[in-house]
């Protein structure tokens, strides 16, 4: 790891100022960033830890009934405290392993936007809103490709607001060595329709499977997606599975998620 200056602001305002420095990088739980630093794949001059900022931690429900989760909230805290949205709590409880869940944060995961991370699928399928220190970003506008988001340099995720669906479920086919999703599918049924988000599968990162959304909005049953085949175009093909295999898994996991709702 290259050397850097470490800062640990206690307020959001101080963190925003610190991130204004040349070559500054925000640090969430660090469960991805620290291994990346060790491999010298990143070399910030200043590392600004968000872990000391109490105002971006915690879970509450807003007047619109949305579940609001602070950007600095750990996966373990979401697993325990997001009882109002059980599918989201279950997803958080399945990320990594217990030690990772005690340190990694939702804001960190979303800012990184790993194509195989779990949280992006929940955020996109829920139509959640990502709140930063400067603005609110709709999930449909936020994810812009593998490790790419709508965040500007120095912008900090302060909160994520999840509309709570009538029914929802997340199915993850685990890549056993890393415990990331080889493919993960999050299905959420709202009054005005169904949203299906797929992670782990695409070279473009998390995406909505609109054919399945249409079929499930007309008939919310596993049978409705039984004959549906996801396109293998632009899907990830690697040592763990080919594009056709991932396309197949998308269909299987979507059916399972609906059946489990």
């Amino acid at each position: 790891m290259y050397a850097f200056e470490f800062k640990r602001p206690a307020t959001l305002a101080e963190a925003v100022t610190a991130l204004g420095a040349e070559e500054a990088q925000a640090l969430g739980g660090g469960q991805t960033l620290i291994p990346t630093l060790k491999q010298r794949l990143a070399a910030p001059a200043v590392l600004v830890s968000l872990n000391g900022i109490a105002e971006i931690k915690g879970i509450c429900t807003d007047d619109a009934g949305r579940l609001c989760i602070g950007g600095g909230t750990t996966h373990a805290a979401v697993a325990k405290g997001a009882g109002a949205y059980p599918a989201l709590a279950a997803l958080a409880g399945g990320i990594g392993d217990p030690a990772v869940r005690n340190r990694g944060t939702i804001g960190g995961s979303l800012a990184n936007n790993d194509p195989s991370a779990c949280y992006p699928s929940a955020v996109l399928a829920s139509g959640a809103t990502i709140v930063t220190n400067t603005r609110q970003i709709a999930a449909d506008d936020y994810f812009q490709g593998m490790f790419t988001t709508a965040l500007e340099p120095g912008e900090i995720i302060t909160e994520v607001r999840f509309p709570v669906p009538m029914k929802a479920n997340y199915q993850k086919f685990v890549q056993p060595a890393s415990r990331f999703a080889l493919v993960g599918v999050f299905v959420a049924q709202f009054k005005d329709g169904v949203r299906v988000a797929v992670t782990g599968a695409s070279t473009g990162g998390v995406f909505r499977w609109t054919e399945a959304e249409r079929a499930l909005s007309a008939n919310f049953s596993a049978a409705a997606v039984k004959g549906l085949k996801a396109s293998a175009d632009d899907l990830i093909a690697d040592i763990h599975g080919g594009a056709d295999y991932r396309a197949h898994l998308i269909g299987v996991l979507t059916g399972r998620a609906v059946a489990a709702c």
Partner: protein, 161 residues
């Protein structure tokens, strides 16, 4: 160099560290507490697990300076005051829950975190909770057996191998 202060096993400690100093380096090289091991250095093996404010964390994937004022517990804090083994450590010895012993500090700390939140886990719950702790010797059976025994449950029916 910046200075960090925290409590380790109930003792107030402080030291000068670099921004990039990991908690495990502060423990091993700064405080000369070498019980916490670095197995993989890539956040996968769990040998470096310690408790930070009561929660299991990978000390190789946490910066020392990020833990200013934290309460840290390491394997050195698991023995009784007279130096005799703690309940979980004794169970690992009784049930041969280790061979080379390299993963054991992390295993014991993870097991302690599990039993703190779930005092009577099932065998499946133990296996699931320990998924972030890798052992290349035992095949896990005796580790699971030791954790079950440490929880005060009858392990006579659990296969030894």
């Amino acid at each position: 160099m910046p200075k960090v202060t925290m409590r380790v096993n109930g003792r107030q400690v402080s030291g000068e560290v670099e921004g990039r100093t990991l908690l495990v380096q502060f423990l091993r090289e700064g405080l000369e507490m070498t019980g916490t091991h670095v197995g993989c250095d890539t956040s996968q093996c769990g040998a470096c697990v310690v408790h930070v404010n009561g929660a299991a964390m990978k000390s190789c994937t946490t910066f020392a300076l990020d833990l200013e004022g934290a309460e840290v517990k390491t394997i050195e804090g698991m023995a009784a005051a007279d130096g005799s083994l703690g309940v979980i450590q004794q169970a690992f010895q009784d049930h041969h829950g280790l061979q080379c012993g390299f993963c054991t500090p992390g295993m014991v700390m993870s097991a302690a975190a599990l039993l703190a939140e779930n005092p009577k886990p099932t065998e499946a719950e133990v296996r699931h909770y320990l998924e972030g702790n890798i052992c290349r010797c035992t095949g896990y059976h005796n580790i699971v057996k030791a954790v079950m025994a440490a929880s005060g449950q009858d392990v006579s029916a659990i296969a030894a191998e």
